[in-house]
Subunit: 213 residues, 2 copies
C-alpha cells in the first residue's frame, strides 16, 4: 500500500503530520510526501519546510491519498495540475482523504459532489458551495472518502483509517505507542464549547475574507 | 521570543510538529527549526524530512528550547555538540522543554538532575537512570523545565505553555483554531487502559533493546 501525502505552498503542518504519524505505521505501507516539484515546501506560517520526496507525476496511483488543508486555500483550489492529479489518483485509490480545508481541494476537484464530508468549522459553508454535504462531525466516512475537521482532527482520522485497514488491535497499538491519551488543559476545541466571544470574533474575521481567498 | 525546535536524525515528526503548531502561534514569536547543519533532517521512519533552517551556532540563545524524542535515542545522547548547545541555550532560556524521549536528551545534558519530569511510558525507567525523577503525568512543569509524555503529548504541552506565556484566552483561541477537540476511536492511549497483551508485548520488546540504544 502506497500512501501519498500532498504538499503545496501554504499547507498547515499538523494537518499532514498528525495523520502521517498514525497511518505511516501501517504494516507494509510506503508513505511518500508528494508535490508538483520535489524539494522543500513551506507551510502557512512560512516557518517550516517539509520535503516532498517525489513529484506528483512519480506517484500516479497511491492506495491512500491524503490532502492537508491551508488557511489560504485559494491558490491550490485554482491549480489545475494538482486537481488533475487528485482526480487521476482518486480513480484508482482505495481511500481518498483530507484534513481541515483539504476537503475544499477534494471538492474543487469534483470528488465530493453530494457526499457527506467535513472541514474546518470556519470552512463548512465554503465546503457546501463546492458541492459537498457538510456535517459537523470530526471524522466523516462516505464510501472511500474520509474527511476530518480542523487541523488536529487528522490524528483521529488516522486512527480510524488504521482500524479500517489493519484492524482495531493494530490501531490500538499505534495509539499506545504514540501515547494518544489527550488531556488538553482547556475545553475550547470546538465552536460549541469555546468562549463565545472567541468564536464570534473568528466567524466575523472569516466573513471578511474573500471567498476562496 | 525566539522558539528553537531541535532536529536530529531519527527524530519523531509528531513530537516536533504537535507543539510547533500550538506554540508557533504565540504573538511576536519567531519559530526556527535548528540542527547541527542546516538542510533536511530525516525522521525515525526515514520517510519524512523536515528542513532545519538554521544551524545550532546561529541560534545560541532562544527563549524557548524544544527537544523532540526518537525511538532510537542512543546516537543523539552521545552527541557532544548537541548536548553542549542544549546546556548553553538552557543557560539563558525562559523555557526548556521536551516531548517523548526528548527528556532523555535534556537529562543526558545534565539539565534534569533531581527534577520531576516525564517521557514516553516505555522510557520512564531510562529517564530515572539519567538522574531525573520520572512521573506518570502527561505534562510536567518543574520550574522552567517542561516535559511531555509520548509523541502526541506535545500538543497538550504546547497548549499549557501558550497559556503560561500568553494567557488562557490566547491558548483557548489556538485550541479552537486547530480544532483540538480530540475524539480518538479507541481508549488505548495509555498503558493503564490499552489492551493488557499489547502493553505486555511492548514492555517485553523494550526489555530486549540495549540501554541507550
Amino acid at each position: 500500500m502506497q500512501i501519498a501525502i500532498l504538499l503545496y505552498p501554504g499547507f498547515t503542518a499538523l494537518d499532514a503530520i498528525g495523520p502521517f504519524e498514525m497511518i505511516s505505521r501501517l504494516p507494509d505501507a510506503e508513505t511518500v510526501f508528494v508535490a508538483k516539484e520535489s524539494g522543500p515546501v513551506r507551510n502557512d506560517q512560512g516557518n517550516l519546510a517539509l520535503v516532498a520526496d517525489r513529484t506528483l507525476a512519480e506517484v500516479p496511483a497511491p492506495g491512500v491519498v491524503l490532502v492537508p488543508g491551508s488557511g489560504d486555500w485559494g491558490p491550490v483550489l485554482r491549480d489545475r495540475e494538482t486537481l488533475e492529479w487528485l482526480r487521476a489518483a482518486d480513480a484508482t485509490s482505495t481511500w481518498t482523504t483530507s484534513v481541515c480545508t483539504g476537503s475544499l481541494i477534494l471538492a474543487a476537484a469534483g470528488l465530493l459532489d453530494g457526499r457527506r464530508a467535513t472541514s474546518h468549522w470556519l470552512a463548512l459553508d465554503e465546503l457546501k458551495r463546492y458541492g459537498a454535504d457538510p456535517t459537523g462531525e470530526r471524522v466523516v466516512f462516505d464510501g472511500k472518502y474520509v474527511t476530518a475537521a480542523g487541523v488536529s482532527a487528522g490524528i483521529d482520522m488516522g486512527l480510524h483509517l488504521l482500524g479500517r485497514i489493519a484492524g482495531d488491535r493494530h490501531a490500538q497499538t499505534v495509539q499506545l505507542l504514540t501515547e494518544y491519551d489527550p488531556q488538553p488543559p482547556y475545553d475550547a476545541g470546538s465552536p460549541d464549547r469555546a468562549p463565545a466571544e472567541v468564536v464570534a470574533f473568528w466567524r466575523d474575521e472569516m466573513g471578511r475574507v474573500p471567498a476562496g481567498g
